[in-house]
Amino acid sequence: MAESKTPIIEIKQVSKVFKLQDQTINALHDANISIRKGEFVCLIGASGCGKSTLLRIIAGFEEPTTGEALMWGSPIKGPDPTRGMVFQDYALFPWLSVRDNIGFGPTSRGLGRALVKETVDKFIDLVGLAKFANAYPHQLSGGMKQRVAIARVLANDAEVVLMDEPFGALDAMTRERLQDELLDIWQRTGLTVVFVTHSIEEAIFLADRVVVMTPGPGRIESDNPLLLQRPRDVASPEFNDIRRVMSAKLHSHHGKKAA
């Protein structure tokens, strides 16, 4: 890999403190990550360990309390189309059809009508929803909604796709299918993906690197490059070896706490 290049995303000593009336919450403490263009990074950890907070800082929805979040070396200031977010609960615009949801970004950025249509058609096809172009979100299944949400950020030229437990609410079959599709898109487009999950298996199936986080205060415990060949087979012995190691890393922390 090209170590010399500037990382697309860099998180430097980032901490995030939420102040409520009667308490302060250290959601994230001294986090450091550097992500290269085209990498597929999974964040994994128990709930409350700051995964969403970290993702939202990268998205620009939250500012770090201390430290810096950089994209291509410049500070991230607010949300931007170059960093698209895919939410667990889809957050589609219910009053827009599939077509108009996907066209929302291109339209907002002021692309001409013809160009918007061309872009939308391309990405509707990419996620296999051509037949549902005119359906409204409430008429779609969860898997289809999440396809629209993915197409929506891709159609907007996102370089980095941030996904917060995007498949967590889907049934196992749909989840596996979407994992395959996501990998396929990622491999063909050279996107950078930061993907939050609490499934070890999902992380190992998808990621180039698995970042393990631990709670209280939320921090990055370890950063694990996966050298497993793609396409990966969840039933292979190698896969299971890695799963065992990751599982130990995740649970060592709980063990310490209980002791």
Binding site: S108, L126, A135
Partner: protein
């Protein structure tokens, strides 16, 4: 590419309303809806023909009077053939007052919902004014606007105002915050979000407010027209009472009911078309 044909067949089913209903299934709602009115009519008929009460005319007499009221030619009194005149007078005030109320309540509601300062300035005042019933405004309205149509108009306007305002505020304030984040990461930020997120998201609530407001406008019209207007269905009802012409009172009531109902159905139809995207909005 594997991607293109990956729509899972079971998930791909769009929920549709069943087509090809049997004839019975189609008329059933209407039949069921007519049971209570039919029973009431039968009871009314029996009660009046059997002389259980002499205070109310029989349905037949009211029906006959309704025809005279509508087209004349039976009694030929001061009210014969004047139904449309009175109906249009009332409709003018209902829709006029309603439109004026919407004109004030919508922008005000959007402001209170979106701008914290506007909320802090206006909300306490409006909350105190709101419990004052329209009927309590009647005397003041008569002092301010005199005896006549302007007073009726003002009361209708006041009656329609609060439902529109409150539902607009509610709609604007309950937009899912995720949608703002989604819009801003897609490049729609600042004031553009008002038109592209707030307004459409609040539309179902706004619509509910308009529907309730229009219903209340019909509700208030009788009170409004008690202020000494010469024309209008409320005036007809008041005149009927003063002249002890109960059939006139009942005719007026029936017409207000039907006009209000038709008016509501039209609004609901517009709503269903405009809000086809909203799973919870089917009147």
């Amino acid at each position: 590419m594997a991607l293109v044909e990956t729509v899972p067949p079971p998930a791909a089913v769009i929920i549709e309303k069943p087509v090809g209903k049997t004839p019975w299934a189609r008329v059933k709602p209407m039949v069921l809806a007519l049971i209570v009115p039919a029973l009431l009519l039968a009871f009314w008929h029996v009660a009046t023909t059997q002389r259980w009460t002499r205070l109310i005319p029989t349905p037949y007499e009211v029906g006959e009077y309704m025809i005279d009221f509508a087209v004349g030619g039976i009694y030929d009194d001061a009210f014969s053939g004047t139904l449309l005149t009175h109906l249009f007078a009332s409709m003018g005030r209902v829709y006029g007052g309603f439109a004026l109320a919407a004109l004030f309540a919508l922008p005000l509601g959007l402001m209170i919902g979106r701008i914290p300062t506007a909320r802090m300035v206006l909300d306490p005042f409006l909350q105190v004014m709101r419990p004052i019933p329209v009927t309590a405004w009647l005397p003041l309205s008569m002092i301010l606007f005199g005896l006549g149509p302007r007073s009726a108009f003002a009361l209708v306007c006041l009656g329609a105002f609060y439902p529109i305002l409150l539902n607009t505020v509610f709609g604007v304030r309950s937009v899912d915050p995720k949608l703002f984040e989604a819009a801003s990461m897609l490049g729609c930020q600042g004031n553009a979000q008002f038109y592209k997120v707030v307004l459409p998201a609040a539309l179902p609530s706004i619509f509910t407010g308009l529907r309730l407001g229009l219903g209340l406008a019909w509700f208030v019209i009788v009170v409004g027209e008690m202020t000494g207007v010469p024309q209008g269905l409320g005036a007809v009802i008041m005149d009927g009472r003063t002249l002890s012409r109960t059939e006139l009172v009942i005719c007026g009531m029936i017409i207000i009911g039907i006009a209000g109902y038709i008016s509501d159905r039209i609004v609901v139809m517009i709503g269903n078309r405009l809000l086809a995207w909203s799973p919870t909005h089917h009147g």
